[in-house]
């Protein structure tokens, strides 16, 4: 990835951007997010199969100083996250340069967000058979089995909120779970509190989730909570033809409606 380092150096020395969000060598063989602000640091940048963190999460954290131009190294999920965030008016195109990396590890310099949108729509956007199989496995259970399965999984949760923190779409300054007047979500991590939290997380990400699986990867207890949002993404695609991270202009599925939306359960 010498080309990436070269590009990073150029961008920083021409002052086209002030910070590059990318990856560096971490500890114990891991890669990790890195923030590069001078050309001589650019040599620490890496990109390989270990670089799986969704870096879009840093674009909305308001941690980066204001009025700085940021370049972000964008794998495919990061590109989709950026499109979703942009469609929700969370990102200013003038301050973000996206350095895309294709599946075969080539650098794509995007001119603007519309350019990313075009690129995304040229790719295969369908759910993988592996993803489908994970969902099918739970769908095939009886109602009681599903209840038991999720009760078991949720009972392990201790509410560290790594799932929320790692998710680029969870950018609310006041999350519903921190809201205490009224106290919507029971705070303690007992079964009810965990159940309410995970439903809220999934519902607030319903159809907005771009499927990077960062939530369950970040989870120290390996809870398969990515399946909740994945299930809803599939459902929303099927019912309303909407998929997150693919369009800058199409209205979000739950912010709009069609009079002829088909359901089978309303009497």
């Amino acid at each position: 990835m010498d080309k990436l380092k070269q590009l990073a150096k150029e961008l920083l020395s021409n002052n086209q951007v002030q910070i590059i969000v990318g990856y560096e060598e971490g500890t114990v063989g891991k890669a990790r997010p890195a923030f590069i602000s001078s050309p001589d640091q650019a040599d620490t940048l890496i990109y390989d199969e270990r670089c799986i963190h969704n870096l879009a999460v840093y674009l909305t954290q308001h941690k980066l100083p204001g009025n700085t131009k940021i370049a972000v190294i964008a794998s495919f999920p990061v590109m989709k996250s950026i499109i979703t965030l942009a469609s929700e008016k969370q990102l200013d195109e003038n301050f973000i340069k996206v350095i895309g990396i294709s599946k075969d590890n080539n650098i794509i310099e995007f001119k603007d967000f519309a350019d990313i949108e075009r690129y995304i729509n040229q790719q295969d956007l369908s759910f993988t058979p592996e993803e489908q199989a994970l969902i099918d496995k739970i769908d095939a259970m009886s109602m009681e089995e599903r209840w038991e399965y999720w009760q078991n999984e949720f009972s392990r949760c201790f509410k560290c909120y790594a799932c929320r923190s790692a998710c680029p779409m969870c950018y609310c300054t006041l999350c519903i779970t921190d809201f205490n007047q009224p106290q919507w979500v029971s705070v303690p991590s007992h079964k009810l509190g965990n159940f309410e939290w995970h439903i809220n997380r999934a519902m607030h990400l319903a159809g907005r989730c771009i499927g990077c699986d960062e939530c369950s990867r970040a989870c120290p207890l390996d809870l398969p909570i990515n399946l909740l949002t994945k299930k809803l993404s599939m459902d929303i695609q099927k019912q309303f033809g909407y998929s997150a991270g693919q369009s800058l202009t199409e209205p979000y599925a739950l912010s709009t409606y069609k009079p002829d939306d088909k359901e089978t359960f309303i009497r």
């Binding site: 009681e144 089995e145 999720w150 009760q151 009810l192 159940f195 999934a202 159809g207 409606y257 359960f265």
Partner: protein
């Protein structure tokens, strides 16, 4: 006489179903007394958390009802609600929540008899399903959770 009497909470919109339920009363139509009606400005206002809170506080069944499509007082509140219920129902079903305990319906201000019918069939349905023990068990879990 120890028949199980379910607690049913109805979340209804002010303009159609609430008025419809009023008509049921003024028409002197008898219906199951198990239902507690909560009036909302519009079905679009009924957050999914309200449903969960009702279950957590002891409801065995839930009715959500508002204006028929195209009749919404605010033009599109019920259409938005419909989409939300379509998604939320999927979510609940995926988590193993018994979606048969939730009745969704459109009841207009003129449909007093229909409201009685909706409540009666819902209450009958819940009587067959029994108390919502699974949810109770989750709520009443001993809070001294140890690690592991």
């Amino acid at each position: 006489m120890n028949e199980f009497e379910p607690k049913v909470v109805a979340f209804v919109c002010n303009w159609c179903t609430y008025a419809g339920a009023d008509l049921t009363g003024t028409s002197r139509i008898k219906y199951a007394p198990n239902v507690k009606i909560i009036r909302f400005p519009c079905t679009g206002r009924i957050d999914f958390m309200l449903i969960l809170k009702a279950f957590a506080k002891g409801a065995d069944g839930i009715i959500i009802s508002g204006c028929h499509p195209n009749d919404c007082h605010y033009t599109s509140g019920n259409f938005h609600a419909k989409r939300r219920w379509m998604v939320f129902r999927t979510m609940l079903d995926f988590l193993g929540v018994d979606v048969n305990r939730i009745t969704f319906s459109w009841v207009s201000a003129a449909e007093g008899a229909r409201w009685a019918e909706i409540v009666n069939t819902t209450v009958d349905g819940i009587k067959k399903l029994g108390p919502y023990d699974n949810y109770r068990k989750m709520v009443n879990e001993e809070t001294e959770v140890n690690n592991g």
